[in-house]
């Protein structure tokens, strides 16, 4: 098997994933009369990442072969898909249904950034406890539970930042601290995994070669188990934080952009003429 053959043949057309993507698009589309807006763009981007994460060869690699591929999936499901989908939701006032009754506890979580922070960062730490990490690879149901919980924790984490209920969003400065501290939490985990001399997920140490791609991975790509874990740790250490940084810069842009008057006014070239010219409105 060659790399090219591998990239073509290992797509896993998981019916659940396709069904979720399809129904999301149909429901979203019918609600908005299939007008393509920027928000719809966010939805499509989010679903595309979701689809590629779970259907493309990354999934095959994560399924027992490469820790780093698992880490990539983990980060995409927790940090990329949820904020994109949340951004696509129409901004609405807080629904009355959530303020009382059966769903009140959910509302409580959403309104407490400490709780959502712990869910978002704790989820990352929890699923890298060696026992859970191994179990998620060997047991199909735990595997699915892991995906679902990552998505849910991701939604909870991003709710105070990109959630549709503006009144429940954090103020920009608080939001920046929220994201920066999360970055710190995930950096520390990344550093620990990078420098850990033992395998975090021992299952990846001796992969069962179901697809016959082990020679490609270890010989052609040169990804030995040691390198693989280093790569996984680095993925969590470095690029994961860049996602939070994007969030911080987005908050900043939003904050400086939301006033009625634009602060950057194009300069008139005639300003040279007068010595004390300010900018022209």
């Amino acid at each position: 098997m060659t790399t090219r053959h591998f990239l073509i043949s290992t797509w896993d057309w998981n019916p659940w994933v396709i069904a979720i993507c399809f129904t999301s698009i149909v429901i979203y589309g019918t609600r908005h009369q299939f007008h393509f807006t920027r928000k719809a763009g966010w939805l499509l981007a989010g679903l595309a990442v979701f689809f590629l994460t779970l259907v493309s060869p990354v999934d095959a690699l994560a399924n027992g072969y490469l820790f780093s591929a698992h880490m990539l999936q983990h980060l995409l499901l927790l940090l990329v898909v949820p904020p994109l989908i949340l951004l696509s939701l129409p901004s609405t006032p807080v629904s009355v249904r959530f303020q009382s009754g059966r769903w009140q506890w959910l509302n409580w979580i959403w309104r407490h950034p400490v709780a959502t922070w712990i869910l978002g960062v704790g989820g990352m730490w929890l699923w890298h406890a060696p026992a859970l990490c191994n179990a998620a690879v060997t047991n199909e149901w735990i595997h699915r539970l892991q995906y679902a919980s990552l998505l849910l924790m991701g939604f909870a984490f991003w709710w105070p930042i990109t959630g549709p209920w503006y009144s429940q969003r954090l103020s920009p400065l608080a939001g920046m601290i929220y994201l920066f501290s999360a970055c710190l939490g995930c950096t520390v985990l990344g550093i620990i995994i990078t420098f850990a001399p033992v395998e975090v997920c021992s299952i990846y140490l001796h992969p069962v070669d179901r697809l016959g791609i082990l020679p490609i991975i270890q010989d052609q790509w040169g990804l030995t188990p040691a390198k693989d874990q280093l790569l996984g740790g680095l993925l969590m250490w470095v690029p994961a934080c860049l996602i939070y940084f994007c969030g911080i810069l987005g908050l900043f842009a939003h904050w400086h952009g939301d006033s009625g008057n634009s602060a950057v006014v194009p300069q008139s070239t005639s300003t040279k003429a007068s010595k004390e010219q300010s900018h022209v409105r």
Partner: protein
């Protein structure tokens, strides 16, 4: 309201006539302006010393095979030059400028914590003297400013130089962190009405972001230094590979501080340029939002690039790959700034005053330094030129051609405000051209020397073709640069005596510091002008054509912060990073097999668990005490406070018993790396518990003396937060050490 009234009453009753004069008034001052001036004067002294050290090295390097300096003297000189310039000159100069200017620029009367401010300053001369005392005590450190282990360990650095270095840097680190906490609290809580965060002058914004960098990065250095100190004095082996330690860990710790440090030294300089360039181009800064946002981006990215200082260590291909990428990425926000400044100049009516000349030179030289910096992100190039004069040229372009030129620009710009007199423009231009020519002559040729392979930190070099000539050129340039500093000193002295009076606003600038007299009165402002945009003085003088209102009329930030809360939270953040470093060191060493005592053999989780419960319960009681105090139940509050103290002492008692038991088993801090990391981590935690207990006992004394009956309950809240923090740290320590989580 009442607070402001009582404050102005206090100002009026101050015996300004007598207390504001004489040498003692300078020693005892808590006025941010005087402290700022003290900072600047002290750093000027150290700047001259660091400069002389540099010139001595250049004399030695002027000719090949020179014997002017011995190898050891040369080693001491480059170490002292680097340490002095970074910790005793650049950082305190920028902090001093911020100290003087930030309260004025935000329309405040003083810093949030004036006495803490005085402490931060006085730690600077203490640290400086301690470092230089090493010269009398057997020789200065000779291990380079980053003090790589194991060279800095007792086996190789046999004099006490490194010990003075560690103690001095600890003291200076504490001072910088205290100053930054003060600046954060000042900027968040002392702004004049109307000055929302979005209307902040860019200098203040950058100082604000920079202060976060300081409180997050400095503790990494402090933790590393503490470990080095323990290594040297308790014969432990954190960083000695021969005994199981790791020299690479020192490098990680050092550069986790060291790279943010580069931006700690650059961001305030960016702030100065962002003030000077618009004023002398007579245009508002182009793209305020982009400059502000790119500052945040630089600060965030600066924590994710440190490993590029360690490419030559052999970190492995994946690591090189990631850090090369992030290092290149950080060029983007820096580039945005350079474009914004250039765009501000474009089409402006530029006044080439000395300040502006320095600012324009900054733009060019900093860009050159930045571009050579990007070459270090390319791993193979880094392998080739790291440790050569190419690197020396690069960081001098950033730090001298960049930061120092910005500081000179700031000095010429703000000197009239600080002293009430103008610096001579004629001498200033002489100063500028000598500095420009001298600097570029001294350092541009070093790029070539580095590419030819001339190693830095070697006391001499062989007579290879071209080397002697280029080195002589570099030395001549260095002396011209040194002479330019003499011109600056002469200019300062002459202008202080006979300088033209400045008036309130000699440059027609737009930020608040120019709204008051020069020099400003003790209370800074009698009346702060209305603030609706980023240029309040422009609005004041041009009512017919004011700047667009930023954030709408009557905008506010939407949050009300209390300065004590900000102070204690910032302090806990910096403490948190310190403990994080100790915990990471524990994990790093105990994840490997080692000889000697192990946690499983030595520790008893059940017994310590009981004392842990005591400590956690004390967190609950102090929380309850705070609530009772707020509810006005003073006696319940006292009982709960007493209970907290008892529980705290119970924990200390338990820890003491644990230590004694371990000592009796014959295990000391230097038995093996488990013992070392265990005692370091739990020892520092125990120290924090003790400090917390002292604070609680003081609170108890105040409570018994009848305090806290009316107001002033913020102290209780602050101590309470500290106590919660100490408990939370213990919970993590207990989980990791005793329950062996993450191992």
């Amino acid at each position: 309201m009442s607070k402001a009234a009582s404050f102005s009453a206090a100002i009026e009753t101050l015996p300004l006539g007598s207390a504001y004069q004489g040498l003692y008034s300078w020693v005892a001052t808590v006025d941010h302006k005087r402290i700022g001036i003290l900072y600047l004067l002290t750093t000027l002294v150290f700047f001259v010393m660091g400069g002389i050290e540099a010139l001595l090295m250049r004399i030695q390097l002027a000719r090949p095979n020179s014997t002017f300096l011995s190898p050891d003297a040369f080693g001491q000189l480059f170490t002292m030059h680097g340490t002095t310039m970074i910790f005793l000159v650049v950082m305190p100069t920028l902090i001093g400028l911020a100290n003087y200017l930030v309260p004025l620029m935000i329309g405040a009367r003083d810093m949030a914590f004036p006495r803490l401010n005085a402490l931060s300053f006085w730690l600077l001369p203490c640290g400086g003297l301690l470092l230089h005392f090493s010269l009398l005590a057997g020789g200065a450190p000779a291990v380079g400013w980053f003090s790589y282990a194991p060279l800095s360990e007792t086996a190789y650095a046999t004099t006490s130089g490194v010990d003075y270095w560690t103690m001095s840097l600890l003291i200076l680190g504490v001072g910088s962190v205290a100053a930054s906490i003060n600046l954060i609290a000042t900027i968040l809580t002392q702004r004049a009405p109307g000055l929302t965060i979005r209307r902040l002058p860019l200098f203040v914004w950058m100082i604000f972001i920079n202060s976060f960098l300081v409180i997050l990065a400095l503790p990494a250095l402090n933790a590393a230094i503490v470990m080095l100190f323990i290594d040297r004095h308790l014969s432990t082996h954190f960083f000695t590979p021969a005994h199981g330690g790791s020299a690479v860990l020192w490098q990680h710790f050092f550069w986790a501080f060291g790279h943010p440090e580069v931006y700690i030294m650059a961001l305030p300089a960016f702030g100065i340029i962002s003030e000077v360039v618009p004023v002398f181009a007579r245009r508002p800064i182009f793209g305020y939002e982009f400059v502000a946002a790119s500052t945040v981006a630089i600060a965030l990215l600066s924590f994710g690039v440190w490993a590029h200082h360690m490419f030559a260590v052999g970190l492995g291909h994946p690591m090189d790959l990631f850090f090369a990428a992030t290092s290149m990425m950080i060029a983007v926000p820096t580039g945005i700034k350079v474009f914004a400044w250039s765009a501000t100049l474009w089409g402006g009516s530029i006044r080439l005053t000395t300040a502006m000349l320095f600012a324009v030179a900054f733009l060019v030289q900093f860009t050159i330094g930045g571009l050579s910096g990007i070459t270090f992100a390319v791993v193979p190039i880094d392998w080739q030129v790291t440790g050569t004069y190419y690197l020396v040229a690069h960081f001098h372009y950033v730090l001298f051609g960049g930061t120092f030129f910005a500081v000179f620009a700031g000095l010429y710009y703000w000197f009239p405000k600080i002293t009430g007199r103008m610096l001579s423009e004629r001498l200033g231009k002489l100063n500028f051209w000598m500095a420009l020519i001298g600097f570029n002559t001294a350092f541009f040729v070093q790029h070539f020397l580095g590419l030819m392979g001339m190693a830095r930190r070697v006391y001499t070099y062989p007579d290879l073709p071209g080397w002697a000539l280029l080195n002589m050129i570099s030395t001549i340039g260095a002396f011209l640069l040194g002479a330019s500093v003499l011109v600056l000193l002469w200019n300062i002295i002459a202008s202080l005596r006979h300088g033209e009076p400045a008036g309130d606003n000699p440059w027609n600038a737009w930020t608040l510091e120019w709204a008051t007299t020069s020099p400003p009165p003790a209370q800074n402002f009698d009346r702060v002008p209305p603030i609706r945009s980023r240029r309040p003085l422009w609005d004041l003088t041009h009512p017919e054509n004011p700047d667009p209102i930023v954030g709408g009329i009557g905008a506010c930030d939407g949050f009300e912060l209390e300065k004590n809360r900000i102070g204690i939270v910032s302090f806990l953040i910096t403490e948190g990073v310190f403990f994080l470093m100790l915990i990471l060191a524990y994990l790093y060493y105990n994840n490997r097999a080692m000889n000697g005592p192990t946690p499983t053999g030595m520790l008893n989780p059940q017994r310590t668990g009981i004392y842990t419960l005591c400590l956690l319960a004390s967190s609950f009681t102090i929380w309850l005490a705070d609530r009772k105090l707020r509810a006005g139940k003073a006696s319940t509050f006292r009982w709960l406070l007493a209970l907290t103290i008892v529980l705290g002492f119970a924990f200390i008692f338990g820890q003491g018993r644990e230590y004694l038991r371990i000592f009796h088993a014959g295990i000391l801090v230097n038995s093996n790396l488990f013992a070392t990391t265990f005692f370091t981590l739990t020892g520092f935690h125990g120290l924090h518990v003790l400090v917390g207990l002292i604070a609680l006992v003081i609170l108890m004394g105040l409570a018994l003396a009848g305090d806290f009956k009316e107001g002033r309950i913020e102290a209780v809240k602050s101590i309470g937060l500290y106590w919660h923090f100490v408990d939370a740290v213990w919970l993590v320590v207990f989980l990791i050490i005793y329950l062996r989580l993450l191992l």
